[in-house]
């Protein structure tokens, strides 16, 4: 991993603070993400990991600080703008359409790429059909990539959890993202499913050159696949660096293992 090369900073988080009423979820957090790297955000429960992701994603508006994406600084963004800039995400508690097939679920990820107006799409006129075929082709490549061909027509709700997670990833990939935010991609998985998911994450990073920001609980996984790690605790950043540096950071050890006072 040490020989990997990274590009410029694509995502720069500067002094972000977020609070809900009196509760401070994030305090003065800064870190950056370089192109092509796999960047992990870890921390104990309630450390503010998901809040951090939601800020990047535009779901939450931080009270202080700014996020710079590819050189452009934003103070307020909404999720659609973020998506249009090429940031896709998956969800901790799966937000798939349970009654829809795998294929349709992933097709929804192509939403932003469909430019025909509603009328054309409704009656399947020429341009709409061509567009549909083009997008379907792209989705098929994702299905192939994620090895979920046997489930194309299966309603997502009927599938095992590990596979649903894969569909969730597929939908995010359908957006052809530059940056992919993964919220606990391995949560609730068994060892084999975790291994599969690790391989897919590494492959996405490798084959498509996608920059990946992931939140994860499983330390083993994080240390294995991440290039750099940010550690949060009680909404504050307590560590930042390569997995090895983080592993030997006293503050991190204290936060994870506890100390005697």
């Amino acid at each position: 991993m040490s020989t990997r090369e990274f590009g410029d900073v694509v995502l720069d988080v500067n002094n972000i603070s977020l609070s809900f009423g009196g509760v401070k979820a994030l305090t003065d957090i800064s870190f950056n993400v370089r192109e092509h790297e796999i960047r992990a955000i870890i921390g104990p429960n309630g450390a503010g990991k998901s809040s951090m992701l939601n800020c990047i994603n535009g779901v939450y508006q931080p009270q202080q600080g700014a996020i710079t994406f590819r050189g452009k600084t934003f103070k307020h963004m909404n999720p659609r703008q973020v998506a249009e800039m090429g940031v896709a995400r998956t969800f901790q508690n799966l937000a798939l359409f349970k009654g829809m097939s795998v294929l349709d679920n992933i097709m929804t990820g192509r939403n932003l790429r469909m430019n025909c107006n509603l009328l054309l799409q409704a009656i399947r006129l020429g341009p709409a059909e061509r567009e549909e075929i083009k997008n379907r082709e792209f989705v098929e490549r994702i299905i192939d990539f994620l090895e979920i061909q046997p489930y194309r027509k299966t309603p997502v709700g009927k599938m095992p959890y590990g596979l649903q997670k894969r569909v969730d990833l597929g939908r995010a990939l359908a957006m052809e993202p530059k940056v992919l935010l993964l919220d606990e991609p391995m949560a609730g998985m068994n060892v084999e499913e975790k291994q599969d998911m690790c391989r897919f994450i590494l492959d996405v990073n490798d084959e498509f050159g996608t920059t990946i920001v992931l939140i994860e609980h499983d330390m083993g996984v994080v240390m294995d696949i991440s290039d750099r790690v940010v550690v949060l605790d009680y909404g504050k950043k307590i560590g930042d660096g390569t997995p090895d540096e983080v592993r030997h950071n006293d503050d991190v050890i204290r936060a994870y293992l506890g100390t005697t006072h």
Binding site: R141, F145, Q149, D203, E207
Partner: protein, 648 residues
Amino acid sequence: MSTTFPRLLCEHAAQRPNAPALREKEYGIWQTLSWLQLAKMVQALSAGLALAGLKRGQHIVVVGENRPRLYASMLAAQSLGAIPVPLYQDAAAAEFVFPLNNAEIAFAIVEDQEQVDKMLELREKCPQLAKIWFDDPRGLRKYDEPGLASLDALIETGQAHVAKYPREFIEQVERTQPDDVAAMFFTSGTTGNPKGVVHTHFTLTNRGRAGASFDRLTSDEEVLAYLPPAWIGQNIFSYSQWLVCGYVVNCPESSATVMIDLKEIGPSYYFAPPSVFEGLLTSVMIRMEDAGAVKRWLFHRFMDVARRIGPKRMDGAALGLGERLLYALGNIVIYGPLRNTLGLSRVRVAYTAGEAIGPDLFTFYRAIGVNLKQLYGSTETAVFVCMQPDNEARSDTVGIPCEGVELQVAASGEILIRSPGLLKGYYKNAVATDEVLSPEGWYRTGDAGFVDASGHLKIIDRAKDVGRLSGGPYDGAMFAPKYVENKLKFFPYIKEAVAFGDKRDRVCVFINIDFNAVGNWAEKRNLPYAGYTDLAQKPEVYALIKDCIEKVNADLASDDKLCGSQVSRFLVLHKELDADDGEMTRTRKVRRGYIGDKYGVLIDALYDGKDSQYIETQVKFEDGRTGMVAADLKISDAKVFEAVKEAA
């Protein structure tokens, strides 16, 4: 008329250039490759291989699932007069060492990253392995190994060469003669190192043609290629006969989608070992048990009708009007939809071979209108030796000798064969060749059997496995372990059985339960279990298996010769027998001797009359790591019946 595979390819490409040759489902769509496109690809590949240094008479391994470009690679090698050696794609890397060194193989064409990893792992033990090409580049972008390249790159260099020297290909094809070696297949072998079976263009095309004329196959057939290409059966059905007849071979999207693809393609010519037919039936039965009451009633009602009328109908017997109407109704309500679900709607000829097939299983398919038949053959005979004609299929025979085959039963009961499709020999193994091939051209099959009154060949067991009991009430009685095991395996709950009894006073068996079937059975009875090992040791499961065994015993008791083979004690093994642990061959045949050594303590416990035995076993996972499985195995007695003396 004798020919070679590359010549057949050129003929198809010239005569019907736009007819489909291969299809592969990719990105959700069946992508077609016409004969002309295929010929062009083969031409480019062969030029690329020649430039890379592949010479006439050299061997090249091909490892992977059924993929159009791997088929094209085999044709390309054969065009140059080189010899493709297909190997099993699910074998562990270590199993490749012997074939690679035995045939001094320097070139490999493999499917994907998994196979590339195996080949790279072997480089230390097989230093001659210079070039490796891969079909699917996924995950291989960062690999920087000497001699490793993609098939795309190989085709590209080949194309550039072809543009300059377009005649070279046809000259090479002309130089290859029918009696040149076409391919080598390593037999799995239940003992010792595998042996390379050498076949020429003549032997393979001759047998392909014999089989095709027996069933009047045409270029309109559709075949789904889903079994390992390293197995001669798959090679004959989707390679030799494909080129001989010129029909369409369809490659599934992945091994997990075979059932879906089967339904979409609806093959007209179908081949599967009994285990596949059994798997299909089990899946139907499990789904039927979960169906609503009305459907279930309808299914059972009409399946009774089918079992009564269907086989007669298949045998071409005259049916009464009532029977015909009833069957026609069943066909609309049950059989038709069922055949469609199984992907067998359009099947004109279906074959099973390799293992004995249970009478119930065999009857089921014939009853619902699938023309399922049996054939007899092996790697050494290029498959076709005996085949069952339409209307004459039986579950306990393997048919009549087909075109060109002479058959003889030796005094020992072993079946001898003379056929144009016999192997040229075992590669670099004259001793083994002389053992099986007599100077007069008779091949010793190693199977014991006889020809019955209707002229059909009947196989009992491997000749060397037929043993004798010694001591006890049936001293000296014949013991055919496979015969007993097969009878047991015909029960859906029993996946594998291993019988012991040679030179012992009675017969004992190891049982492997069928995890799906028994698991479903347990769930229906609210019987909780934690996994295979736990389920296998449940007293209820022992009672279930005991019941099966006693039925077999009752059946054996009525057979004069075999009543000594009744099973007196048994145990259910704590793990599934697996080829990765060396307990079975890659074609899923149990290696009785190996199992006997490995589980010696269990056999002793069976014969010593113990009630249970503790055992620890090492298991090998697919990625080569190992783990331990330990269990305290129960041992149970089964009721043995008095011999039923036939009235004199």
